[in-house]
């Protein structure tokens, strides 16, 4: 399915490069803890979703690790900037790698795209290193010569595991 749509995207003259660059830039903002700049990538109606079960259908009828609209994102980031956020004393350091980028769906009329990719994020904090990995799907909207995020969905391979505290977005 993904392969076929990619061929379509290529046939329609859509270059994967700008999408890949966007995902790399987004990951870098998180790694540099530039959370406000990261939030600015989301459109006004944008959401950030990390489901708590595989293939979760909806954030509305069951628990999610994260399901932030812009308001909740702002509260989350204000907290990350707070001098007394104990769970970030010391702060996390993260390194993302994003790959296997596939343009899964193109809606030319609306200027919207769904882009799938695979990620690995290593996190180090307070003598402990841990690893997060999974698939992510960005629903993007054309915005001038770049994109805005309508939804970033992160499907961790261990989404239904018991986690130690997670302070930073993935």
């Amino acid at each position: 399915m993904a392969l076929a749509t990619r061929r379509l995207a290529v046939a329609a003259g859509i270059d994967r490069g700008p999408f890949e660059d966007f995902l790399i830039d987004e990951a870098r903002l998180l790694d540099e803890r530039r959370f406000r700049d990261w939030m600015a990538l989301f459109d006004e109606d944008g959401t950030y979703w990390v489901p708590s079960v595989p293939d979760q259908k909806s954030p509305f009828d069951q628990a999610s690790l994260f399901y932030d609209d812009r308001d909740l994102m702002k509260t989350r980031i204000e907290r990350l900037e707070h001098p007394r956020i104990h769970v970030q004393t010391p702060p996390s350091r993260t390194a993302h790698i994003v790959g296997n980028v596939v343009i899964e769906h193109v809606d030319d009329g609306k200027g919207e795209f769904r882009v799938g990719s695979t990620f690995i994020m290593a996190e180090y904090r307070d003598d402990v290193q841990r690893l997060f990995a999974g698939r992510q799907r960005h629903h993007l909207r054309r915005h001038g010569d770049t994109f805005r995020i309508v939804q970033k969905r992160v499907d961790l391979i261990n989404c239904d595991a018991a986690f130690e505290a997670m302070a930073v977005p993935i």
Partner: protein, 433 residues
């Protein structure tokens, strides 16, 4: 400590302090698994998790794997998840539906009431093979109140009624908020773990003292916490910023103990007249339609904030949920948190509660994460040998009887509730009990 004599254990608890070994000694932890988690009434699950015959969920009581099933006759069973043949865990999924539960190893198959149904190659069974005696072991005693299922792994001890009696009102407080008068724990669950003793979490659920400092990162420059609930215009006033001290309204909050280690804190107002949004107003209307305006107003006026049903469960009234505490090792604990769906409330209202819980109590939440950091640091700090005692003396001697609730009352920023937990702890740990 290995022999666990009662008088030796009693020395670890003094009126306003607890010895650090209570949190760090692996031998004491083994005794707790035997004497507390092997005896006490423990919360297992809610009947809404197994609505239909053949439904099951798996969980742990202490460290013991169990299955809660709904049998074909509608009865709910709490079975040990351990094949009676060679000991393998029979059910490996967290939830599911099956006519029979079949062990992966040699294929022994059990009915959903635990009865051994079939054994492959039956002609190999010896003459004395008693199929009836080889059903899955079951919790010797179970009890249910408004869908909340509890079990004791001991065949004797205080009755379910004795145990749960003082806390029935706290369960009612939550269940009555559903317009249809029932809850469903069917909206998934949050799971988190921390490298710390299980009692750090138990002590924390009724601890109002830590909020202004422990959760400082959720409080804005005006001293107000982020708005939590559907329809709230702003969050709780936690700090008086001009005076840089805990807000008076916070200091006035009360806590209560009612024996058996149970307790609760108050008050959380569900409707102070300022809480309003289309979704919340609609919920109020639906509740009033079902129970009448007078009763609805009663349900929505000052209610319980958080309740602890010792030793393994809490109910939170503010951002509604049920929490289950699962000890793994002396310094390792898992906690499961179930969002609650109020039957008869709109999907939007239930979503508002689910979304709120994501940001207050998921592993990635704004609130729980700072608590987890405190638990981990406590476990590290308690390794210190030069300061053996943990101080729990706040408000010692200031407790007073509360005739309205038949409980003992103190200030929520005091540590009366923690002392009550250790009184119950000693009761369980006493060898002769």
């Amino acid at each position: 400590m290995r022999n666990g004599h009662a008088d030796e254990i009693a020395k670890l608890i003094e009126p306003g302090r607890v010895h650090r070994r209570v949190y760090t000694d692996p031998d004491l932890f083994e005794l707790e698994m035997e004497r507390i988690f092997g005896r006490a009434w423990l919360f297992v699950g809610h009947t809404s998790q197994v609505p239909n015959p053949g439904d099951y969920v798996t969980t742990e009581l202490g460290r013991q794997p169990v299955i809660m099933t709904r049998h074909s006759d509608g009865s709910v069973h709490v079975l040990l998840n351990r094949c009676t043949h060679r000991g393998a865990k029979v059910v490996n999924e967290r939830r599911g539906h099956a006519q029979r539960l079949t062990c992966c190893y040699h294929g022994w198959s059990f009915d959903t009431d635990g009865k051994l149904a079939t054994v492959p190659v039956p002609e190999g069974c010896g003459a004395g093979f008693d199929k009836d005696a080889l059903g899955l072991a079951r919790a010797p005693r179970t009890g249910e109140y408004r869908g909340f299922v509890f079990a004791s792994l001991a065949d004797k001890g205080p009755s379910f009624e004795d145990h749960i009696g003082p806390m029935k009102g706290n369960i009612d407080d939550l269940v009555d908020r559903a317009p249809d008068g029932t809850l469903a724990l069917d909206a998934g669950m949050h799971r988190y773990v921390y490298s710390g003793n299980w009692k750090l979490q138990v002590e924390n659920v009724l601890d109002s003292y830590h909020v202004p400092f422990g959760h400082a990162s959720t409080v804005n420059k005006q001293g107000v916490q982020f708005a939590r609930r559907e329809g709230d215009q702003k969050g709780a006033a936690v700090i008086e910023t001009e005076k840089k001290q805990t807000a008076a309204s916070w200091k006035d909050r009360k806590s209560f103990t009612a024996g058996n280690g149970h307790g609760w804190t108050s008050n959380t107002t569900l409707d102070d007249g300022k809480r309003s949004s289309p979704v919340f107003d609609d919920y109020k209307r639906m509740l009033a339609d079902k129970v009448g305006a007078e009763r609805a107003a009663e349900i929505l006026t000052p209610r319980l904030h958080n309740s602890l049903i010792y030793p393994n469960m809490s109910i939170m009234g503010l951002n509604i949920h049920v929490r289950v505490i699962k000890p793994i090792a002396v310094d390792r604990t898992e906690v499961n948190i179930y969002p609650i769906r109020l039957s008869g409330a709109s999907a939007d209202m239930n979503f508002a509660n689910i979304r709120l819980l994501n940001v207050t109590h998921s592993a990635a939440s704004f609130v729980q994460t700072d608590d987890l950091e405190s638990f981990v640091r406590a476990q590290k700090g308690l390794q210190s040998h030069l300061t053996d005692w943990v101080d729990i003396s706040r408000g010692l001697g200031a407790e007073e009887p509360d005739s309205a609730t038949n409980a003992t009352r103190g200030l929520a920023t005091h540590e009366m509730v923690v002392r009550a937990q250790y009184k119950a702890w000693l009761g369980y740990m006493d060898e002769a009990a």
